[in-house]
């Protein structure tokens, strides 16, 4: 029983082959619901499947993924630090950011300092900017009934927001968008070496750009996120120049692709359920839950970073010991029938839509409030503008962006 796309053939009855396809053979680029069929097979083998080849415990159930994300002191940076030691520039940058630091105390320190700059007010300030940018994009599309929702709309918003927050001039946003695309595959659990060169190039580009930008911000004392990160301090402690550069790169890659892919995935799903689209249009009180439910059902982040355990992980009926590595496949958790009734059904009125798309625990996404604000603002305006949205490509072209399932183009036909 094989499932095939142009690039990938997976034996759905061979769990090792499934894990290999997910990690190294672009299974996330497989069309339709195929990735979830892979997770379903792994989930049927118990709360954790141990991949012999990758030396990892793969988690596809909700309880297991939640426990893994909350597992204290687990180390996400082993591979990154090993790659950094081998001379990867990208890995060296990543290794100094909070997600990958070896010592949890250092992670907490960096998170606290970034959080001082990334306040609810900073996020709230971006609402007007988002409205303005979305308004411009919609104005550009006026009079057109067919366009590419990803390339001509969604993909422009988060990168503009992050650049605005960091204080990057508007004329440089296109090059940031390009760097973001080039960096996207760098968070894969198993790096695809054919993509190393483009990743390194983008990270160097960003590095040089920030190395130039930061001193200017420091001098001017700007009131943007970068300026605040520069000034953020705690008991005399500040972020170093290198940390500022690495974190800015990190915030860009964490905050742009993820959100534009989420926006595209949500609209794809809404378009496939026109009656529910109409309901949200009529009753905006449903918007928040319609976004969360779409994130649960088809959120772009499929797996979290592999975790090296420094505390045992207790799952239902079994314990994974210290020194083991676990891979939480959150997209699998989101379709766990032991946690969600009819998990494959998209239902904007679902009572429990709590998902793990922003992770949980000490690495929970700092930018979740910003992402939610961008999504609700932009999608609210999409609902205002379009009476209906139909996706004209079937299937849409999916791409494997490391742990994320991306859509590289999404032709739509709209009515106003």
């Amino acid at each position: 029983m094989m499932t095939t796309t142009a690039e990938t053939t997976v034996d759905l009855l061979d769990p090792e082959d499934i894990v290999d396809a997910i990690l190294a053979r672009h299974a996330l680029a497989m069309a339709y619901e195929v990735p979830w069929r892979l997770y379903g097979v792994l989930r049927s083998l118990g709360p954790a499947y141990r991949s012999e080849r990758y030396g990892m415990w793969v988690l596809t159930g909700f309880d297991g993924c939640l426990a893994a994300l909350r597992n204290p002191r687990s180390d996400l940076g082993r591979q990154v630090r090993a790659d950094a030691a081998k001379g990867s520039f990208n890995a060296m940058k990543k290794a100094s950011t909070m997600l990958y630091l070896e010592d949890p105390a250092h992670t907490l320190r960096q998170r606290r300092l970034v959080a001082k700059a990334f306040t609810p007010q900073t996020v709230q300030h971006m609402k007007d900017f988002t409205r303005q940018r979305v308004g411009e994009l919609l104005a550009d599309l006026a009079g057109r009934s067919r366009f590419d929702f990803f390339d001509e709309f969604a993909d422009h918003i988060p990168v503009a927001v992050i650049c605005q927050m960091l204080g990057v001039p508007r004329e440089d946003v296109p090059i940031f968008r390009e760097w973001t695309r080039m960096m996207a595959p760098s968070t894969a659990a198993v790096i695809d070496h054919s993509r190393t060169a483009q990743i390194e190039e983008a990270v160097r580009g960003l590095h040089d750009y920030y190395a130039d930008l930061i001193p200017r911000h420091r001098e001017k004392g700007t009131d943007d996120l970068l300026g605040r990160m520069i000034r953020a301090h705690e008991e005399g402690d500040r972020l170093s120049e290198m940390e500022l550069i690495s974190l800015s790169t990190f915030l860009l890659s964490a905050g742009s692709d993820t959100t534009s892919q989420a926006m595209t995935a949500i609209v794809r799903l809404w378009a496939a359920h026109p009656a529910q689209y109409e309901e949200i249009r009529r009753d905006r009180a449903l918007l928040g839950n319609a976004i969360e439910e779409a994130m649960r059902h088809s959120g772009p982040v499929h797996y979290a970073q592999p975790r090296y355990l420094r505390e045992p992980l207790e799952l239902d009926g079994l314990t994974i010991g210290v020194g083991e590595t676990v891979l939480p496949i959150v997209a699998g958790a989101h379709r766990d029938p032991d946690h969600f009734d009819d998990p494959d059904t998209f239902d904007i009125r679902r009572a429990d839509t709590r998902h793990l798309g922003f992770s949980q625990g000490m690495h929970m996404c700092l930018g979740a409030p910003l992402a939610r604000l961008e999504l609700s603002t932009a999608l609210g305006m999409v609902l205002d503008e379009f009476a209906s949205v139909t996706v004209t490509q079937d299937p849409v072209p999916y791409v494997d962006l490391g742990p994320m399932r991306g859509i590289s183009a999404m032709g739509v036909e709209v009515t106003r």
């Binding site: 082959d17 097979v41 415990w57 207790e314 009926g317």
Partner: protein, 406 residues
Amino acid sequence: MTPDEIVDRLLHHRPLALDDPYALYAALRSQSPVHYDEANDLWVLTRFADIHAALRDRTMSTARHLLSNPRYATSATLRAHTETVLFTDDAATHGRLRRLVSKAFTVGAVVELEPLVTRLVDDLLDRCADLGTFDFMADFVDRLPAEVICALLGVPRDDIGKFRDWTYIITTGSGVSQTDEHMADIDAAMDKLLHYLDGLLEERARAPRDDLLSTLIAARDEGERLSVAETKAMAWFLLAAGSDTTSAFLGAATVALLRNPAQLRVLRDLPERLPVAIEELMRLEAPVHFGIIRHATSGLDLPDATLPPGARVWTVLAAGNRDPAQFAAPDELRLDRGDVRHLGFAHGMHVCLGAPLARMESRVALGRFFDRFAEVDLTAPTVRWVDHGNLRTIDNLTVTVRGRTA
């Protein structure tokens, strides 16, 4: 048969020894899927979705039913059950027991046991190869799980025979009803087993070793304590739950594979599919057919029914595993189903703790057996099924094998 007649048959007339108990489940499911049997004051569930909901509900009590047994005051066995994790449903106690046992019973431990299991299997298969014609149960799979669980616990090899005899008698009591005479035999075996464990635990407390008993004792001495009774309960319960279940499954799974030669051929060619195949075999032939009777302390919400508080609920797990609403052609072995969610290890707070071990043993035993013997023939045309308490197993499964020409 009317639904009440079917329930009576299931409760009191040894249905697991039938060639096809599944026909009874199907008849009950189609006539009355959420059936209230007045004579026994029992709600009987046969649909996958209902059973799943019942097992998932944390307010369902297994302890309540045990304590309401009229023999409770006089039976050593029933009292010993109250200390086990399966019959503890107070959330705090249950969580503590499960945590402690899973600390000792880690998947890491299962991984570490694999070489031992492989060695045991290969030794047994060496003997079987010499015999040519042998009893798959007595000569092969019956010997395996008890050895493994004793190795895990740290029971001396010389005592495994005694252990197996006692637990064999004790597990015959896992059925719904017993005669007084039968119960007396079970209690006698339980007394001996508990007495034996007293001695062994004392020894391990004095001189700990690298085994599960020593770990349980050590856990007892740390923050979250296990009482002496709980430690003993954990030990005998793991042993009882881990032996006959696995061998019964391996017998039934092998019969199912031998009766589907085309699918067996595919599996021989693609042995990497074995882990997924085992789940389908579990769905079709998981040996524990009935769940523990649970009391719905605060009622039970099912997909299209609500049971009142105090309802006594009996889940026919094997019926859920063959529910056509959940599985197309449910009575057929289809190793290519892929994602098979079955109830063979139950579900929810009491889901089988030994599932990782059972899966590993099954993978090794079936994998090595079919790898070793290119041809396997069932000698007898029919299989004689027997009921062993709550368990459907095979008494004698004579097979003739021809090895791979090496």
